[in-house]
Amino acid sequence: MGNIVLTRSRRRQIVHAISYAFLIIVGVTMLFPFFWMLITSVKSRYSDALNLNKLLPETVWQISANDIRDWTALFNKLESADRMEESSGLKTLWTAMGPNEQTKIISVVTRGTYGEEDKKVLVSGLNQVMINQVLWDNEEATAGLNPEERAVITNNGPLVKEQRVKINRMIIDALFPKEIQKAHSYHWRNYRTIFVEINFYRAILNSFFVTLMITVGQVFTSSLAAYAFARLNFFARDHIFLGYLATLMVPGTVTMIPVFIILRELGWIDTYYALIIPPLFSAYGTFMLRQFFLSLPRAIEEAAILDGCNAFRVYWHVILPLSKPGLSALAILTFIGSWRSFMWPLIVSHSDNMYTLPVALSLFQSFYEIEWTLLMAGSIIMIAPMLLVFIIGQRYFIEGIQLGGVNG
C-alpha cells in the first residue's frame, strides 16, 4: 500500500514539473508581444518605433515641444543672442536658424505672447540646426565634451548614432541648461498625450457604459432563452434554435447595411441605443448557454420539480447557481468581445463623443502612417480592464462551484 501512494504522488510531482516547464515556455511566447507593446508605447514619437532590432526605447536627439521647460526664457535668450557682438554658441545657433525663424522669434518677444505656431517654429528651428550639426565646432557649445568626443567631431567620419545623441545633448545642456529638459528615453508622457490629442476620457466612459450594458443584457436575456431551449419542450423548439444558430453563419459584412438602415429608421444612429441594442441580441450567448445547461446533471432539477417548483424557480434557484462557470464565461467573453468591437461602433457613430475605445484609437491611423507609440499606449490602457475582468472572473472557475451532492 505504501508503495502505491508514493508512486502516485511522485507521478503527480513529475507531471506538475513538466506542466510548469511547458507553461513557462508557452507563456513567454504569449507575454512577449505584450511587453513589446508596452515598450513601444514609451518610445518617442519621433523615433523608429517599430524597429525590432532596437527593442528598447532610445534617446532621441530631436527636441520635442514637451522637452521645453521654459518657453519664454528660451525665446528671450535666443532673441538676445541676436544682439550679441561676439560670436558664441548661442549666436551661432541663432544665425543657423535662418531668417524666417529669426523673424518669428523676434516678433514673439516683441509681442510678449506666443502660440502653438510659434512653439512649432522654435522647435523645428532648433532641430534643423541639430540635424545640420552646425554647432559642433563651436567652443562654447561643445565645452563639456571629453577628448574622445572631440576626436569624433573633428574626425568627420561616419558617426555612431549614440555618439551623436550624446553630443547633441551636451550642446543643448551647455546652451540652455534651464530652459530645456533633457530628452527622455522612456516617454511615459505618451500616456498623457493620448488624452490630449483625442477625446480619450469620453471614449473610455463610452466603452465602459456600452460594454456593461451589453454584458448584463446578453447574459440575462440569453440565459432565459437558453434555459427554454435546453430544458423546456415546446412547439418547434429545435427549429427555432436552428434559426438562432443560422444567424451566426452569415458574415457581419453583409448584414451591416440592413441593420444600419433599420437603425436609421428608428433614429438611433449616433446614439447609445445603436451601440448597445443590436449587439445585445446576438445568438452567440444563447447557443453557448444552451450547451452548458444541457450538460448539467438533471437530478437536482427533477428533485426540485418534484418538490413543486415552477420553471422560473427551477431556473433561478437551481440552474443559475449551478452554471456559474458558464455564466461567467459568457460574461467574460461578452465583455471582451464588446470592449474590443471596432467595426460596429465605427459604423453607427459619427461624433467624436460617441466613439468607443477601439474607434478612438483608430484615429491614430491614417492611410499612409500610423502613430505607433500613441496607438500602443492607448492599446495598453484598453487591455487593462479586460485583464481585470478576466482575472476576477476566473474566481468562478476555481473549485468554488463544485457540488458535494451530485447524487443527492
Binding site: 540635424i131 457604459f209 456593461l212 444612429i269 449616433d270 434557484h317 459619427h350 491614417s366 499612409y368 502612417e369
Partner: protein, 434 residues
C-alpha cells in the same frame, strides 16, 4: 448552500443595476444637452476628414479661423480613421446621413459617378481658377462638370542616399536621366559589402511607373483594356530583369506594387543604408525627415524610359450632393482651395495652386535640396485614369502583376489573361450600369 450563493449574487446584481441606472441617466442627460445646442440659428456643417495625425492641426486651425470669420456657421469635424474611411462614408451616404463636406482621394471617381457630389462648375468663378494646375483640375472633373478642386498633390519621386553615391564615386543623378543611366548607376551601387555572398546594399528598391514605358492599363475613358500591349510586356519584363537579371533590386519586396506606400517597409531600411535609391513620395517628406534623419538624402525625378512620367495622386475636399447648406459648404470649401491653406499643407502634399507651389519651392530650405524637381514633375503627372469601377478593374491588373512578379506566369501569358478578363469585365460593367 443555495441561500449562501443567493446572498453573494444579490448585492452584485443590485450594485450593477444601480450603476447601470446611474450611467443611463448621465447618458440621457448628455444627449439632451447636445441636442439643445443645435437648436440655435447657426448653420451646422459636418466635415468628414481622413487626414494623418500630422495634418490634423492645420485643418483645425484653418477651421477655427473660418468660424471666427463666419460666426453664423459652425463646423464639426468628424475624424474617421484612414483604413475604413471609404466604407464609413459609403454607409453614411447609404443611410442618408452623409456629411456636408468630405475628404476624397483615389476613390473620387467611383463616388462621383454615382452622383454623390455637388456640381461646383458654376461656382468656380469665385476663385482664381487659372492659377491652378489644369491636369489636377481635370482629375476631379466628370462629364465636363467639376466636382472638386484638389488641395494637394502627392507624387512618386525617387530619393537617393548621397553617401552611397559619394562612396562609389558617381555624380548625383540629374532630373533628366534616362533608363540606361539609371541601370548603370544602380549596378554600380549594388554592393556586397562584407563579401559573404549576400548583397548588403541594393541599388534600387521600388517601382518604375508604367507610363514611362508608354504603357497603360486601360484607355482614358475606361472602355478599352490595354493590358497586353508590347509596352506593357516590356515594362514587366524590365521589372523582372531589374530583380533577377541585373540583380539591382531585392526580389521579396517586389510585392509592394504601385500606389501602396507602406511607409514602414521602405524608409527604415533606406535609413539604414540598405538601398541607395528608393521610390518615395513628396508627401512623405515629413516622415522621411524623421525616419531618415541619419542619412543625407535628396530627391530626383524618375528616370525617363520612353517619356517622363510620375505617378501621382491627389486629395480634395468635396461637397456632398445631399447637403442642405450648399452655399455655406462652398464658403468652407473655398478656404481649402485657397493658396494660403495649400501652402501650409505643403509638407504633406504639393499645392495645386501653381503660384503657391512656386513659393513653397522658393522658400524651401534644407533637405531635400532638390525639391524643385517636384515642380518640374508637374508637367508630366500620370495618375490612374478616373473611370467608374476603377477598383474592380485595377484588381485584375494587380492580380496579374503579382503573378508576374512572383514568377508564377510569364509576362506575356499573365497579361493576355488579364486583357481577356478585363475586356469581359468592362463589358459586364457597362451592362450593369445600364
Amino acid at each position: 448552500m443555495n441561500a449562501k450563493l443567493g446572498i453573494t449574487i444579490m448585492p452584485i446584481v443590485f450594485g450593477l443595476a444601480l450603476l447601470v441606472v446611474l450611467i443611463l441617466g448621465w447618458a440621457y442627460y448628455q444627449t439632451q444637452e447636445e441636442q439643445g445646442q443645435s437648436e440655435d440659428e447657426k448653420t451646422r456643417l459636418v466635415l468628414a476628414l481622413n487626414v494623418s495625425h500630422r495634418d490634423r492641426p492645420f485643418f483645425v486651425e484653418t477651421i477655427d479661423a473660418f468660424m471666427k470669420e463666419h460666426p453664423n456657421i459652425e463646423v464639426e469635424i468628424r475624424n474617421i480613421a484612414g483604413v475604413r474611411y471609404y466604407q464609413k462614408i459609403l454607409i453614411m451616404i447609404a443611410g442618408n446621413v452623409a456629411p456636408d463636406l468630405m475628404w476624397m482621394g483615389q476613390s473620387f471617381a467611383e463616388f462621383a459617378y454615382k452622383g454623390a457630389f455637388l456640381d461646383i462648375t458654376d461656382r468656380l468663378k469665385d476663385i482664381p481658377i487659372d492659377e491652378y494646375l489644369p491636369p489636377a483640375l481635370s482629375w476631379y472633373r466628370m462629364n465636363g462638370r467639376q466636382y472638386g478642386v484638389p488641395y494637394a498633390i502627392h507624387m512618386r519621386i525617387f530619393a537617393y542616399n548621397k553617401k552611397h553615391f559619394d562612396e562609389a564615386g558617381i555624380p548625383y543623378p540629374s532630373d533628366d536621366w534616362n533608363f540606361d543611366e539609371f541601370l548603370e548607376i544602380t549596378k554600380k551601387l549594388t554592393i556586397d559589402k562584407d563579401g559573404d555572398g549576400k548583397i548588403d546594399q541594393y541599388g534600387f528598391r521600388g517601382g518604375l511607373h508604367r507610363a514611362t514605358f508608354g504603357a497603360e492599363i486601360f484607355s482614358d475613358d475606361g472602355q478599352l483594356a490595354l493590358c497586353n500591349t508590347p509596352e506593357m510586356v516590356h515594362f514587366f519584363q524590365t521589372r523582372l530583369d531589374l530583380a533577377f537579371k541585373y540583380k539591382v533590386q531585392p526580389t521579396l519586396e517586389m510585392r509592394n506594387h504601385e500606389g501602396r506606400n507602406t511607409v514602414m517597409d521602405k524608409y527604415p531600411p533606406f535609413a539604414q543604408g540598405r538601398y541607395s535609391i528608393i521610390d518615395a513620395g513628396n508627401g512623405d517628406r515629413a516622415v522621411m525627415l524623421e525616419k531618415c534623419a541619419d542619412i543625407d538624402w535628396d530627391f530626383v525625378l524618375c528616370p525617363k524610359v520612353k517619356r517622363q512620367a510620375q505617378w501621382s495622386s491627389s486629395a480634395a475636399i468635396v461637397i456632398s450632393a445631399d447637403t442642405r447648406h450648399p452655399d455655406e459648404s462652398w464658403e468652407l470649401c473655398k478656404v481649402f482651395i485657397s493658396d494660403k491653406f495649400q501652402k501650409s499643407m505643403a509638407l504633406s502634399g504639393m499645392p495645386t495652386n501653381i503660384k503657391a507651389a512656386e513659393e513653397v519651392i522658393a522658400e524651401h530650405r534644407g533637405t531635400p535640396s532638390n525639391l524643385k524637381a517636384v515642380l518640374r514633375a508637374y508637367d508630366f503627372l500620370y495618375p490612374t485614369p478616373r473611370v467608374p469601377n476603377l477598383k474592380e478593374l485595377e484588381a485584375i491588373y494587380v492580380d496579374a502583376e503579382e503573378k508576374i512578379m512572383l514568377r508564377m506566369a510569364t509576362p506575356r501569358d499573365a497579361l493576355d489573361d488579364a486583357q481577356r478578363k478585363m475586356t469581359l469585365a468592362i463589358k459586364k460593367l457597362n451592362e450593369r450600369s445600364r
